[in-house]
């Protein structure tokens, strides 16, 4: 049995039947990382001691015939903008290169309590700002399907780790597509939950009204298992809420109404991608779902709206990196001749932040500055309301909306990095979901050559279960 190819429930069964031990499972993954990550670069830190210590604890429980949770001993990877106590948390930035997490994020605390084995921290675009993982201060991650291509971003390390068999599942974060895009580019499943479904405590903030943590895994079922454990209200995040449960609910395919927005199939989409998505939609029609064309008329404004709101929030959130409280500081440079406080700020931030982060801080500061606030930030907030309104209307008629995750296939490393606008366009189908706070699943539904294509299944607020069950139908996963 190849341990690095199991799903969560298969691994759980194997542990219970004593086909292998928790330590054997952990070591299989640690060895795989050792062997494969040289070429992929998914991990920034390997937490071997933490992993083996946890695995031994679970083996001890199994030996004592204690019940173990479905996530016990399951090896996972954590995006390096989510805090794991005592371990480095860099957010892919030089400014946090040596930052040691003083506490566990709530999601980490929850999976640790269930006995999950944390293998390491994964690469990302600096502060989760990017669509290719090329913006990391520690070098790019490569797509396991084609090493010359990007894995998508910003949770590229998490997605590549799962796709490369180097973790059974991973946690990522999604502000404008950062879970869904890499899941799509790496041919695995990613869930961006409803805003508020999961606590953001211990997630390094990028844009607080858009950020959500979510699972990345090999199957829809695995995503569901992880989501069920990490969701819920947390007193440390006052925007988190209890996810309502739909009792005795079962998905009936013949009652499923799927909306396909015409604005997502216009000029600009790669025709090969469009073909794979259209085929997937046809498959749902064949198994009994009702497909109808719908309209989200403000779609074409979503990207501008997002790229004003996200950098604006980021420029405020990133003010905390000042070279004073923690992180990279110019005053620690023995050659520095800094005399006053302002110089500490300017030089620490100027040198500590990478190119894209500086760009977004500048954009956000501009959009919020006197004289421009109304034309940019306030206008974007109004357009945000219109975008959300579009979804509210459509969701009165349909249960789920199907779109591509991205108009493009995984692109070559270096192809878009010099042209920020061309990189932003990669997110054109994912950003609306964050602006409206909705849940969305990225599901692999086919390939063009050896490159995977993801279908985006968008649901009503807190109807994660519905989009997950809908996703399971495609690959014939049991419901």
């Amino acid at each position: 049995m190849e341990l690095t190819k199991l799903t969560i429930s298969q691994a759980h069964e194997g542990l219970k039947k004593k086909n292998f031990s928790a330590v054997e499972l952990a070591k299989a993954y640690l060895n795989k990382i050792q062997e494969k990550d040289k070429e992929i670069s998914a991990f920034l830190t390997i937490t071997e001691n933490l992993a083996l210590e946890k695995a031994r604890w679970i083996d001890d429980k199994i030996l004592k015939k204690e019940e173990i949770n479905i996530l016990s001993a399951i090896p996972c990877a954590i995006k390096d903008n989510i805090l794991v106590e005592g371990e480095k948390c860099t957010a892919g930035s030089k400014i946090l290169e040596n930052y040691l997490s003083p506490y566990d994020a709530t999601v980490v605390k929850k999976i640790k309590e269930k006995g999950s084995v944390i293998l390491g921290k994964t690469n990302l675009d600096e502060f989760a700002m990017g669509s290719s993982t090329e913006n990391s201060a520690f070098g790019p991650t490569k797509n396991p399907h084609d090493l010359t291509r990007v894995p998508g971003g910003s949770s590229g390390g998490s997605a590549a780790a799962v796709a490369g068999g180097m973790a059974l599942f991973a946690l990522g974060s999604d502000t404008g597509g950062s879970i869904r895009l890499p899941a799509s580019f790496c041919g695995i499943v990613g869930l961006k939950p409803t805003y508020g479904a999961i606590s953001r405590y211990g997630l390094i903030a990028f844009a607080s009204s858009l950020d959500q943590i979510g699972p990345i895994a090999k199957t829809v079922e695995d995503c569901q298992v992880v989501f069920d454990i990490i969701k819920g209200k947390d007193k440390m995040d006052s925007t988190s809420v209890e996810v309502p449960q739909f009792k005795n609910w079962k998905l009936e395919i013949k009652n499923l109404r799927i909306g396909v927005p015409k604005e997502y199939f216009v000029k600009g989409i790669d025709p090969e991608v469009e073909k794979v998505i259209k085929n997937a939609i046809k498959k749902y029609e064949e198994i009994g779902a009702k497909i109808e064309e719908v309209s989200l008329p403000h779609t074409e404004y979503a990207l501008s709206c997002y790229y004003i709101i996200a950098p604006s929030e980021a420029s405020a959130n990133l003010a905390r990196y000042d070279g004073i409280k923690y992180g990279y500081s110019k005053i620690q440079d023995p050659k520095s001749k800094i005399q006053n406080l302002l110089e500490v700020y300017l030089q620490s931030r100027g040198e500590g932040f990478g190119e894209e982060v500086r760009r977004r801080i500048m954009l956000g500061t501009y959009a919020l500055s006197a004289g421009y606030y109304e034309a940019y930030y306030l206008k974007a907030q109004k357009v945000r309301a219109l975008i959300k309104n579009d979804f509210d209307k459509v969701f009165k008629r349909v249960d789920a909306i199907f779109t591509p995750v991205s108009p493009f296939l995984p692109f070559k490393i270096g192809e878009k990095i010099k042209d920020p606008l061309s990189m932003y366009l990669v997110d054109i189908y994912t950003v609306s979901v964050n602006l409206a706070g909705l849940p969305a699943l990225s599901l692999p539904v086919g390939k063009v050559g050896n490159l995977p294509v993801g279908l985006q299944i968008i649901g009503r607020p807190f109807e994660e279960d519905k989009i997950l069950e809908t996703g399971k139908l495609f690959h014939g996963e049991n419901i």
Binding site: Y301, L363, A380, K382
Partner: protein, 93 residues
Amino acid sequence: MLSREEVKHIAKLARLGLTEKEITDFQKELFSILDYFEKLKEVDASNVKPLSHPFEIKNIIRKDEPETTANKDKLLELMPERKGSYLKVKSVF
């Protein structure tokens, strides 16, 4: 194109130290992105209430009682410069 002065003004507000070349690059780059945002002008949103959060949220209130933080030492250790349990900063002027 943005003027040099505009870029420098924004950089100062953002507390970002930029090199001369970075300022030159931003003049063009920020302009082309801001130009793309012009698209929003097409939308008539005069009667729309701005949305800052996806859902209605309320203030959550708790009693203002002091608590001890277990990881105070860890937080202190992260400071670039300190004196005992005090954070040390350079002078303002």
